[in-house]
Symmetry: C2
């Protein structure tokens, strides 16, 4: 993979005049929707109010969420590369400025638009978790520092780039946990995604979250992800009978002999009927047989047939086996079948029995282990249910529920101001759980001697960091009686620099496969009780003694003594 | 609006050499992700198998869904313009072909790629519902006819363009029904959307579905949709006290007199405290007051303040009223406030009482009807609940649940082959409800004399169409005993030509505002029992006697006589 990336980088170097370029995972540029105007109007209104009041303070914002998605207890952070592409290309175009002049009130001063047009991100500093890291509620995923009006302008775009990427990566990782390490997982969701880009993002981030490939060809082209697919029901129903085959011959793998695949397949179908496979020649649809033969002639080394257009056990599977036996005669091995309806546990077991019987009758061992793909509205719960029932599926094609994150279609990342010119900023609101942790902070992950994460720890940015082998008091952020001394065997500083003084920090960027591997490793190391399906144990988020006192004193200072409502 | 569109068209004409161009709603081109490779790999695999077998049959496909979303009984069709832009620009690029050569098996014949590279859509005929029409299960939304391999290649992209557009438009229309005709509805969902394009699409289609505007600036630029917004909590918390104001003055509307808005506001705050508005000067946060003054100086004619950063009734509203009174002194009228947390019914009523008291005490009637905007995780159910409780909200800012369609994040449109070379195609599958209606069909909507839709009717394409004033036997498609003679006062042929022989049918294209108006009118005409929230009555889909017999005979022909399982 690293070779491939390097190749792409070279291509970019040739066409990209910027000295400082990101490790793009692709040589093809997308998405042109990601630009400074992809934001909420109020960001620009606020920029004007700040500008008008000459309020160019140094501000620190935290990007974080308050609750893990899917009733789970972990989240995978993804979208960093997309954020940094946006940061790198941040520039209001002339047509943007023209549009804003018409869209904002007429009394907005003209110099403001000059200010916008000249805006750049050279004074912005961004620290972030490495992409693909596990992240937990209230830990800053990104910490962004710089002139208040400018950092404020980044909010919406960063949120839209992080929210869905992290949500769908997390979702994919949960499907992977449910399916187990050895099943093949394919993302088939493009047609049901929330728009073209939702589909593209899903394909990329499901791969990062642990899927093996996608049906989405453009995602394959853009991100070098494996693409997979066979044929649809329409392919089968477009054939009426064997006379629809214009060319029925296939050349032997080992000699120049030409075989009539249609005749061979009909012979095997007749044999299968005689061996009591519980179907009759009459029941096996001849259009379906013709379609399978046509497909096998086109893809002799990759024959995988959709078998539920008419009837799986009476038609689809007998027809598939007839063609697979014929292919074998010519020197090719069929791949397997796909089920797209019905009771997947029951049918997959019945199909496996059928395959085993064919293996025995025809003395062809490979038939026993032909691939069975299933793809009918599968979600995480169905994967768990299939595991409990027992099934014979090797590979899952998963679409709608995966890409739209049906269980929870949005992640609630927010972007909160925590410090202005060194002064902590507080937001309380009417809902206590919406209160923010003020002040510029550092974030650490403390590990035990087996390399298992113990807790995450937030400190004030000017505190000493926790040290390996030294006891550090970690406090629950809300409950004063919950606290413990921890002596970590390893301390990880979670927030690493990614954009400093207008330059990308290359060494903290990763390839798509590097990110995918980080997800896999970190999930492996996370304790099982944090990952289980039902009522998982929350992973502990703690604060230092200093930060605890700082936060609670500020909250008290800012709260009017009122009613107990 | 039509003027604006014409202006845009002229701009396109200058740069677009195609004689036949679509009524683009924007002069800015998006989305570059929509291209022939935005498809599932199996479409290209099938194209190869068809090509290899010289199977260039004339095929008819129906695009339809089986179930209305959101437990409702109607769907709004949207996305047609996006589909036709894709159709118009359909062309495999050289880099697409290069990629496919590497991604497909090596034995795929080279001439196939030449075939793909030369492919065009001149032989494709597309009939569709007018965009913004109501549509019901199993009615073909689009009927596409042409060479089998080519039409098959369009499937995934058309589905992704129709599915989310129709889903989110339908969702927005349901929010509109819940909020009532006279509330102001604003879409604020960008940051939680499923990717940048999900956000853009949501903004466009929520407007079409009945929203009044969006916060999404790029959507405003691209689609000429009204954009709206004020400021965030961070704006408030970035101010510490009145000393953060660099310029406190505002010029009078009527004279050259300069006013110190900070002093004026403090004066009014002191007066408010004295008039027993149940807060103390001490409780009203001075940083919040400074922020409001700063914002009012920047936007004196558009002052709308977010009042829940610290405490709505003790700080936010008193501070807002102080600044609004000061603005009035200088000659400006404030707009109102926004609530983003807490019990919205309770708080909005309390705020309204506050405003009414100010109106009375200061003899300023307009204060009574200042705008109250609410925007905290609002969904359709919450709108209904607020209506039942009673509230004083004028305007709703709605994000997450609207744009991600939390109640059901995907619409299940499918694309099914129904006819090849005049022969009907059947797909049965293991699930009966997945069976398709074979054959090329026409679709009609029959109206009563008040212009209310009675039923939708499917016929075979070669049947006579139902006529005004003549009784026509309409049958339930599945239940043989359900049938009725209907004598319509109006008959609408639902499927109109939109792409014929490589040309767009301009007269069946609509402006974005035309589509929006169609949604509004058609929903108004639909009977209330089809629209109600709880257990709505299904709108009747019927088939002609001829089509009924045709379908049922085919289903029987294709079903093996098996077990009753």
């Amino acid at each position: 993979m690293s070779d491939k990336l390097d190749a792409n980088e070279n291509i970019i170097n040739e066409t990209n005049p910027f000295e400082n370029h990101i490790r793009l995972t692709s040589k093809y540029e997308l998405n042109n929707a990601v630009q400074p105007l992809l934001t909420d109007l109020y960001q620009i209104s606020m920029a004007y109010a700040y500008w008008k009041n000459q309020k160019n303070d140094n501000a620190v914002f935290d990007l974080f969420f308050r609750k893990n998605p899917f009733q789970g207890e972990y989240t995978v952070f993804a979208g960093l590369e997309d954020c940094l592409k946006y940061i790198q290309n941040f520039k209001f175009s002339t047509s943007d400025i023209d549009y804003l002049r018409t869209a904002m009130p007429q009394y907005v001063e003209d110099e403001f638009f000059v200010y916008l047009e000249n805006m750049n991100l050279n004074d912005i500093q961004i620290y972030a978790l490495r992409e693909g890291s596990l992240v937990f509620p209230r830990i800053p995923i990104m910490r962004i520092e710089g002139p208040l009006p400018i950092v404020q302008l980044l909010e919406t775009t960063l949120l839209v780039l992080v929210n869905y990427a992290s949500l769908v990566t997390t979702n994919a990782s949960r499907f992977r946990l449910a399916a187990g390490e050895f099943k093949n997982l394919l993302e088939f969701g493009l047609r049901r995604a929330q728009g073209p880009d939702g589909g593209l993002g899903a394909s990329k981030y499901c791969y990062i979250g642990g899927f093996d490939g996608t049906s989405n060809v453009l995602a394959g082209k853009l991100y070098s992800i494996p693409i997979r697919g066979t044929h649809a029901h329409s392919f089968v129903s477009s054939y009426n009978d064997l006379s629809d085959l214009h060319d029925r011959t296939l050349k032997s793998v080992v000699s120049d002999e030409m075989f009539d695949l249609a005749n061979l397949s009909m012979d095997y179908l007749t044999q299968l009927e005689k061996f009591e496979f519980n179907f009759s020649l009459n029941e096996a649809n001849r259009g379906e047989l013709a379609a399978f033969i046509g497909y096998a002639i086109a893809f002799p080394s990759d024959f995988l047939a959709l078998v539920d257009t008419y009837n799986v056990l009476k038609s689809g599977v007998p027809n598939f086996c007839a063609v697979a036996l014929a292919l074998h005669k010519v020197g090719y091995r069929a791949k397997g079948i796909r089920l797209d309806s019905g009771d997947l546990a029951y049918l997959s077991n019945k199909v496996r029995d059928f395959f085993k019987k064919v293996a025995k009758v025809f003395q062809l061992d490979f038939f026993e282990s032909l691939t069975i793909v299933a793809s009918n509205d599968i979600n995480e719960d169905i994967l768990h249910s299939l595991n409990m029932q027992g099934h014979s599926i090797d590979s899952f094609g998963i679409g709608t529920h995966l890409v739209t994150c049906q269980k929870q279609p949005a992640l609630g990342c927010v972007f909160k101001l925590v410090e202005v010119n060194g002064r902590p900023c507080v937001k309380l609101s009417e809902d206590v759980q919406k209160a923010t942790f003020p002040g510029k902070k550092n974030a650490y992950r403390l590990y035990d001697k087996e390399g298992i994460p113990l807790v995450d720890l937030l400190t004030r940015s000017d505190e000493d960091e926790p040290k390996v082998g030294e006891a550090f008091l970690c406090r629950h952020p809300f409950i004063e009686t919950k606290r413990a001394y921890l002596s970590p065997s390893k301390v990880e500083n979670l927030l690493v620099p990614v954009w400093i003084n207008g330059k990308l920090v290359q060494e903290n960027m990763d390839s798509i496969d590097g990110i995918r591997e980080r997800v896999r490793k970190q999930l492996n190391r996370l304790r099982n009780d944090h990952k289980r399906m039902l009522n998982p144990t929350p992973y502990k988020i703690t604060v230092s003694r200093t930060l605890y006192d700082f936060i609670h004193n500020l909250w008290l200072d800012y709260t009017p003594i009122g009613e107990l409502k």
